[in-house]
Amino acid sequence: MELFDNLALGFGVAFTLQNLMYAFIGCLLGTLIGVLPGIGPLATIAMLLPATYALPPVAALIMLAGIYYGAQYGGSTTAILVNLPGESSSVVTVIDGYQMARQGRAGPALAAAGLGSFFAGCVGTLILAAFAAPLTELAFKFGPAEYFSLMILGLIGAVVLASGSLLKAVAMIVLGLLLGMVGTDVNSGVARFSFDVPELTDGIGFIVIAMGVFGYGEIISNLSKHESERQVFTASVTGLMPTKEDFRNMVPAVLRGTALGSLLGILPGGGAVMAAFAAYTLEKKTKLRPGEVPFGKGNIRGVAAPEAANNAGSQTSFIPLLTLGIPPNAVMALMVGAMTIHNIQPGPQVMTNNPELFWGLIASMWIGNLMLVILNLPLIGIWIKLLSVPYRWLFPSIVLFCAIGVYSTNNNTFDIWMVAIFGVIGYLFIKLGAEPAPLLLGFILGPMMEEYLRRALLLSRGDWSVFVTRPLSASLLAASAVLLAIVLMPSVKAKREEAFVED
């Protein structure tokens, strides 16, 4: 079996002392920021990108990936103990998890989240390993027209995921694409929209946008809310072991969550948040067993399923990135940046040109999941302590790390002035109810889209029908149209709004 050979290669890479260490650092940081509300994997990865310059590419990617899936573990701890989602993907875990904690069952809730996530993580990693090769084969059949259509599908997917108005999400994507146009045009050498500022001819750094909009914008918005009463259930975490009855309820929920999460992770625009929402909705639809606690009152299934789903989704969202080179969500867009820093062009050629990186990363995810279970269950006490750190100490630290991260990308103060501008813009977006995640995705895809569009139309001598006459491209566009039609259907539209109101 080729798969086992590949995995063996991967584990060989992942089990070196250095890579184990970076996987551990990533998982630790991921849990840390997952536990802390108000700072997410997006801002953290953006902050650490410059620091990975010095690392070998495998170690850098292993660490950054660890932050992303580690955050899914940490987020559940805060959701259960503090009634606040530590991560946006834990929003639904709050509903039943906090109720369980109030009934003195915080231990089993944490265990359900941790074990469910671990199982889902293992399955997600296996799916990633199994699907990567066939999808890569497919990717080699892609021409510029297919890539362009695939990006359209990805961007439509991002719109479906965004909360609130569809039109505004589309507008944010277009705005992102436009911001991506700033800088020197690769074909003509014209410096577009750079206002004769030499630094702008290289384009706007996406770290600048990510930090400004997600880092500063979020902090300012968080500070404008009054500090809510936090009630941490530290004393009540005794005995992590769920009962036999708990296990009977949990296992099918974890299985369903894993399946749903893996599927939604692969889809463009999907990822951890969408997976958790969908899994909770599905659990609510399945019948309660006799004597089971209703949902919203501390049902263990309401913790296990979304936590399994968000972890599965965060692993499988690496599939489009690693095989096609198309980031399905904003965090994966940052991973594109990380790969570019190390001169790795994301896409199907990664697997053939850098097999040790490709399989090493996949193997490290399984190891990382194992580390995370240990970090999050036996060592839960440490994270509970951390939750008592007040926000007034945290936010100046976050501002500092953002500023250092931005400066160190180019050792240039120009980026610091830019991040200030984007901080203000980011806060404005929040005030206007315009979600910024699609903007970042558009920003990353903008130059790529233009290039593929150019090439496709150059080959077809300006004939736009090339996008619908090539079967692969046509089916991708058809899929986008179907996706858009589904979201626009009145019944689904109402449901979607309902699902997002819960956060």
Binding site: S165, V174, N187, S408, N412, R454, S460
Partner: protein, 162 residues
């Protein structure tokens, strides 16, 4: 005519303005045609698209009823000003401001300035606490970024080093 959704109304206006600005800027570059796109082609299309989207959003904000009027609410000026100012002062400390003759003050001074300014954005400001926080952050940053990661920062004020 009254605005049914304040947030959508103003975000629509914002999209329109930005779209028009980009389209206008793009028209200054070579446009070309489909087969041979100039540097202005794609941004022009996107700019027009964004302006149209903005127009639709603004129009809907005037027509479609909402429950609470989706008001923007007041701006949190205090955090906005202090967070951004902290960031700017940090930048000035690292790079200096040659235009007004301010020499680079280095990382450590920058960290203290940033921590003190940013802390004003919160609801309470305790001088002793902020000082301790700044010292911890300075020591940790020096250890992590300068010693461990070996990033190139001016650490101390330029005139001390010279």
């Amino acid at each position: 005519m009254n605005i049914k959704s304040q947030r959508d109304f103003f975000s629509g206006l914002m999209f329109m303005a930005v779209g028009i600005a980009f389209a206008w800027g793009a028209s200054g570059y070579t446009i070309g045609n489909g087969a041979r796109m100039g540097p202005g082609y794609f941004p022009l299309v996107l700019g027009v698209l964004l302006a149209l989207l903005g127009a639709v959003i603004t129009f809907k904000a005037l027509v479609v009823e909402t429950i609470d009027g989706e008001r923007i609410g007041s701006f949190a000026w205090r955090p906005l000003v202090f967070i951004i100012a902290a960031n700017l002062v940090f930048g000035a400390a690292l790079g200096g401001l040659p235009s007004i003759g301010l020499p680079p003050m280095g990382l450590i001074v920058g960290i203290f300035a940033l921590t003190f300014i940013a802390s004003n954005a919160g609801e309470e400001f305790n001088f002793k606490e902020v000082t301790i926080l700044a010292i911890i952050l300075a020591v940790l940053s020096y250890a992590a970024f300068i010693l461990l990661l070996n990033l190139q920062f001016p650490v101390w004020p330029a005139f001390i080093k010279a």
